[in-house]
């Protein structure tokens, strides 16, 4: 259990599987949100987690280092395996780097288009001197298996352990251990960075499942 200083004093409720706790100092409020979270965030079968990363959306990555939560915006990610394993690229120039190296875990949170502007803003300032959760009015939710928080406002949250770091190329290798979705949003649309300041929002969907049936792992 991470202890969050100030407003994020650590409080826990017993947890069982798919449940969790919103960080707050008010028990009543917390219990309400706890129930709300129980409703909103559904456990996603782990073998489906890669389907949120494979399309290449912009993601948020949260970390918790002692009493300091942080969140960064990342676009340079890759799926490595269906199990699932992921990679992302970041380095020592990034404030979250120290926590990633030290605590060997993070949460990958996938925002929908409603949070596009906020996601860009989150990626444009460092968490070194500010509390980005507070500044951007993001609600950290206690994760099931890592100390890094889920983000309530995101459609999907994937709890990850960092299992390797390839320093030569600044590549972090992650293994997902829990995944959550807010399935109250029935038609989530994600967004992709072009890299020049423009972003592309998800458009139409096309189904070619029949052609590639042999390539799709069971349960996906």
């Amino acid at each position: 259990m991470v202890k969050f200083g100030g407003k994020f004093a650590a409080l826990t409720l017993s947890m069982n599987g798919s449940e969790g706790v919103l960080y707050t100092t008010e028990i009543r409020k917390m219990t309400t949100v706890y129930k709300k979270w129980g409703y909103r965030m559904k456990k996603l079968p782990l073998q489906k987690a890669f389907t949120f990363l494979e399309p290449g959306p912009v993601v948020l990555v949260t970390t918790a280092d002692k009493d300091k939560l942080n969140v960064m915006t990342i676009s340079w990610t890759m799926v490595l395996d269906f199990t699932p394993r992921f990679a992302f690229m970041t380095g020592s120039w990034n404030f979250s780097y120290k926590s990633l190296i030290k605590n060997r875990e993070c949460v990958i949170a996938i925002p929908t288009v409603e949070y596009l502007k906020k996601t860009v803003q989150i990626g444009s300032i460092s968490g070194a001197k500010i509390d980005k959760f507070k500044k951007f009015k993001l609600s950290p939710l206690e994760a099931a298996s890592v100390k890094s928080p889920l983000i309530k406002e995101c459609y999907a949250n994937i709890e990850c352990k960092i299992i390797d770091y390839i320093q030569k190329h600044n590549i972090f290798i992650l293994e997902a251990i829990e995944a959550w979705v807010d399935d109250s949003n029935k038609a989530p649309r994600f967004f992709h960075a072009v890299g020049d300041g423009r972003f592309i929002v998800d458009g139409e969907k096309v189904n070619h499942r029949r052609i590639m049936m042999d390539k799709i792992p069971s349960g996906v």
Copy 2:
């Protein structure tokens, strides 16, 4: 110069910078297409090449091993640097793997939505026993700096050297050395794999260049 057997008998024209040659046995036809290519494929400033990979589209990767051209479909890619450097994941189960390891080069070709179904089909069969360029009516164009062919039907083509291979995680590290775009298509739309047989086509574009000005490298 790679020698292509059968239909792809090797023929060259003098090359200078942004020009190239279509592989064909008919000189006249070749010259025509050569000119056409000179028109269609424009040299893309190398520092902009990452903007085609960063959104996370499905891509085609071509290789040339002696007289054998091949093309595979890949969705697991990542930008590593603006210079530009990329990563993708594949392994020995893939027919192109041997050529990637041996020849240390490839071309990343980015297809538009008009080629979605064909791209899925290309990814669903192995090049071990068939000529996928022939089967799928793709036109290989001679690249400027690698032996792997460009694909005339793709909007962007990026010539890459493989500068490292991280066997433990099946990650190839690539450095782009030339890039081309077919700018006759004024509104190209690319597509992203979900991983479960569905694909997401590019939708609306949103510009947040002003917010992230400090993060955009010069010339992009």
